[in-house]
Symmetry: C2
Subunit: 226 residues, 2 copies
């Protein structure tokens, strides 16, 4: 990893391991929550860094990517819904499996501890069972998948992540709280990481993002008391 210009010693110390515990399927005191990569688009400092060079130059610079996205290692498959069942099985799934296999082998070879991996395939509802067996600890869901049905389909061997409709963050804080509560009730307290069902939109109010995060922390603690 040193060869890519960024070393492990530069990562900030973990404040807690709740997210990692949920990803590994361990019990947690509350539900961890994060927002996906596009999340940065709504932050002024993200847009400033991005504006410094064009998109493809950014993609080719590990330093720039690292600065823009210091977060969970997630494989994001944007095209599942465009591909459909047959093309997804042929052109996406084998490579999704291969990435998990290679990253895990690479970590082992480098003498590094295993990391939980997340797969998110937008509109990939049709391949949930396959994704749950593709070598990832966490399967992300978009907002068109009902939490209870997803859990029935994938079994208990993976952590689920998602899946509030991002547009919910245009609603009032009260409505966000109501929707988060419903989502947490449906996913249940364990083997679950809260998230939106897709990335944030650039015009979203950071205050509403805060309300979303706060609602997850609050309701997930209440859920465990009941």
């Amino acid at each position: 990893m040193e060869a890519n210009g960024f070393g492990l010693q530069n990562f900030p110390e973990l404040k807690n391991d709740t997210f990692l515990r949920a990803a590994w399927g361990e019990e947690t005191d509350y539900t961890p929550v994060w927002c996906m990569r596009q999340a940065g688009r709504y932050l002024p400092e993200f847009r400033e860094t991005r504006a410094a060079q064009d998109f493809f130059s950014t993609c080719r610079s590990p330093e720039a990517c690292c600065e823009l996205t210091l977060q969970a290692l997630q494989l994001f498959e944007s095209h599942a819904g465009h591909l459909g069942t047959e093309l997804f099985s042929k052109f996406a799934l084998p490579y999704i499996r291969d990435v998990a296999k290679r990253v895990k082998a690479g970590l082992q070879k480098a003498g590094l501890a295993p990391v939980p991996m997340i797969i998110f395939a937008k509109d990939g509802h049709f391949a949930l069972e396959e994704l749950a067996q593709a070598g990832y600890e966490v399967v992300g869901l978009d907002w068109t998948v009902a939490p209870k049905k997803a859990r029935e389909r994938v079994g208990k061997a993976v952590t689920l992540q998602g899946n509030l409709d991002p547009c919910a963050l245009y609603a009032s804080e009260e409505e966000i709280g109501r929707l988060v509560q419903q989502m947490l009730d449906d996913f249940g307290p364990q083997r679950y990481i809260a998230n939106l069902g897709h990335g944030l939109y650039p015009d979203m109010d950071p205050e509403r993002v805060g309300a979303f995060v706060d609602a997850v922390h609050k309701h997930s603690r209440l859920l465990r008391q009941n």
Copy 2:
């Protein structure tokens, strides 16, 4: 209907009733096939008619709509995937049910014979069971839904329609034939109307559309012989 400026006497005489029989769930000698409303976009004569006035003027003119789209009465819900489970149940499904109810009541009141109705909800995979019980004889599927799974979920009380990926029509005629054969095998010979999983795109070659239609007719007859 006379009040809207177009009368029943202007419809051409039916050449066969295969489509209607499939929609009603009756046996057919081959699988009927059609392409959805956007189909017109690829026809030069459609684009000429559309160019004569702006989109919203066209929408407000029953005569123009009639000229553009002389075909099966289908309810096309474009937003299912954007709405997701909760909003679809609240803002789409009740009105989808209501349209079926009112059209049927209206026909009966006017002393007209019942017509089979089709519901197509793009990316509405999560609501298949509800759509199959919404008062329509036919449920259209987009290309992200596996035919066999769809049949398992909706039971035998509706005809299914769909669902070749429209982009398949950019492939060779041989490949189109192979994909059509697979689709027909998966849906089976009865209670099925062949179609694409969405509309045609404006740049599509009418020859390929012809190849699609021919492949359905050919393979569906072969399927019934085996």
